[in-house]
Symmetry: C2
Subunit: 332 residues, 2 copies
């Protein structure tokens, strides 16, 4: 046998085994082939030292080079940013992206998952709070922010560390008595860890803290009532507030103005997400920044590495703090 | 012949003509078929009173039920909103949408247009400022905001009327001496008509006006210099400013704060787009609202009506004014 200078190709295997190219393809993809042919192909693979990875990827016949992204909408800034970065990460790899905004019709999510089962798309990246979604084992699916099962990788920010960082920042900036405000899905999901991280940070730094937790659909007025209860002689007892999202922080800043509390002089506010005005200008508030572009890259990499021996169940990416006008500026 | 209760189907034609379903399909799509078969199918079509539209659409063999959307990015709020509404308009019609964010790589736009030529997608909706784009006649393409040629429909807001409305509003709200500020592409495009509309409105309402026009890439500081030149004894000579976008209005509001000008007491500001905080909350400034959901519906309708006898070259949809805190409130 002549010495191979480059990695052997499927053609080399076919030549070595004395079979047609299609036969090699069938063997590699586990399709039925007569036993003698199968043995010859397997022997040739061994002899030429084929790497399963390289040929399995090249041969998969049903490759569409299309990925579907399921996301509630594109107008919430965090979602808009995810869509943009996932789109760029896919286009850079010559993949096309089908977009499916799902919040007006959650039933559509199942259709796209079925498309992946039928190889009409190569895989799905999904941020969904639909508890009824059925994803069969083996479906190429990467979840964002909410685990869809033990065999499906979920990519998220390190929400626990983010909550902890918010508490530590407020402590560093001189706060003593802080509040955590949260509104969101009641389903188990990764962003819920912001609360636990914040509590942990408060305890380790000796901050007194209170919590007000609402579920999606509850009236915002409950936050105003909660804050009003904590005002005595015109003064809010909290000197720091951590809001579960920048969106909530934006609403709370309005509430604080109505209650005649100055930000950041009377009370400092930190949000979560890293939202920027008009998508590119300064931060809408002081915030724990989610690494959106890294989340996007990670989702795409994990989805396309289909032969990876192990799928990590949960990947948490590091967050950072950014000043956005609603905290005191740090003196360095 | 039995009375048909519902619209006749292709199967009914096949039965009536005594031919196979595929033969009807070929005749309808103009593919070669033996003359006697062709005649029988045509007679059956006439007898059953088939509507060409209904069967031609259902039979087109190359239909992918996929549309591509080309848009600079998804993080500018106006683009994010367009993506969302076009996505919903397509999904509602059981179409899939490929998304291609183009501002990082304009070369990709041509690839998607070529896909449409090759029937890999059914058509394109594109908002692009790429002057080198080649779109052959007959390519199913709907443009937004910039005409791509006489045979390609362009959907846009009524930008001229929007500029005019801004001038009229400022006049109604008591302004006498106003300014128009613009930064954007130097290419011919529909949003440029905002300027002409504004001038027209100023002239008809007897407003004194000045203009400051920058091109993409020019430094924003030129606006600050322009406004500073118009301050005497701490007082800005303009009592109203129309900004070509809400994004620019947002920047100008910051500039005015730095220059110690109160909004709306000293100077009223109107933007253009209808941007809302976090995509769904109140307007970021007083603004001329683009009818984004109507633009989305119109683009999708025009693209899918492939049998329409006439393609309108330019469709301008009506805008409206919305109060967003940077003008005086109207007393009714």
């Amino acid at each position: 046998m002549k010495k191979e200078l480059s990695a052997p190709t499927m053609k080399d295997v076919a030549r070595e085994a004395g079979v047609a190219l299609g036969t090699v393809s069938k063997v590699v993809n586990g399709l039925p082939v007569g036993e003698p042919y199968k043995r010859r192909v397997e022997e040739a693979i061994q002899k030429l030292n084929y790497q399963v990875n390289s040929y399995a990827q090249g041969l998969k016949a049903s490759r569409t080079h299309t990925i579907a992204l399921l996301i509630p909408n594109t107008v919430e800034p965090f979602f808009a940013s995810l869509v943009y970065h996932i789109n760029l990460a896919l286009l850079r790899r010559k993949y096309r992206m089908l977009l499916c905004s799902t919040d007006s019709d959650p039933g559509m999510e199942q259709e796209y998952i079925d498309m992946a089962r039928q190889n009409k798309v190569d895989g799905i990246i999904g941020l969904t709070y639909n508890p009824n979604l059925k994803i069969e084992e083996g479906t190429p699916f990467i979840a964002i922010d909410r685990s869809m099962g033990p065999k499906i990788s979920c990519v998220t920010s390190d929400n626990f560390a983010g909550g902890q960082l918010a508490a530590e920042k407020l402590a560093d900036l001189g706060c003593k008595n802080v509040a955590f405000l949260r509104i969101g899905s009641s389903l188990t999901n990764e962003p819920n860890k912001r609360k636990a991280g914040f509590e942990n940070g408060c305890l380790s730094r000796g901050l007194h803290y209170e919590m007000k937790i609402l579920n999606d659909g509850d009236p915002y007025e409950e936050f105003e009532a909660f804050l009003t209860e904590h005002i005595q002689d015109g003064k809010l007892s909290f000197d720091g507030i951590f809001c579960v999202t920048d969106h909530l922080a934006y609403e709370i800043l309005k509430t604080l103005r109505r209650l005649n509390q100055r930000v950041p002089e009377d009370v400092q506010v930190i949000g979560f997400d890293g939202t920027r005005h008009f998508g590119s200008l300064e931060y809408t508030c002081s915030t724990i920044v989610q690494p959106v572009s890294e989340i996007a890259e990670m989702c795409v990499e994990l989805l396309l590495q289909e032969n990876a021996p192990v799928k990590p169940p949960l990947i948490c990416l590091p967050v950072s703090y950014a000043y956005g006008g609603t905290t005191l500026e740090e003196r360095n």
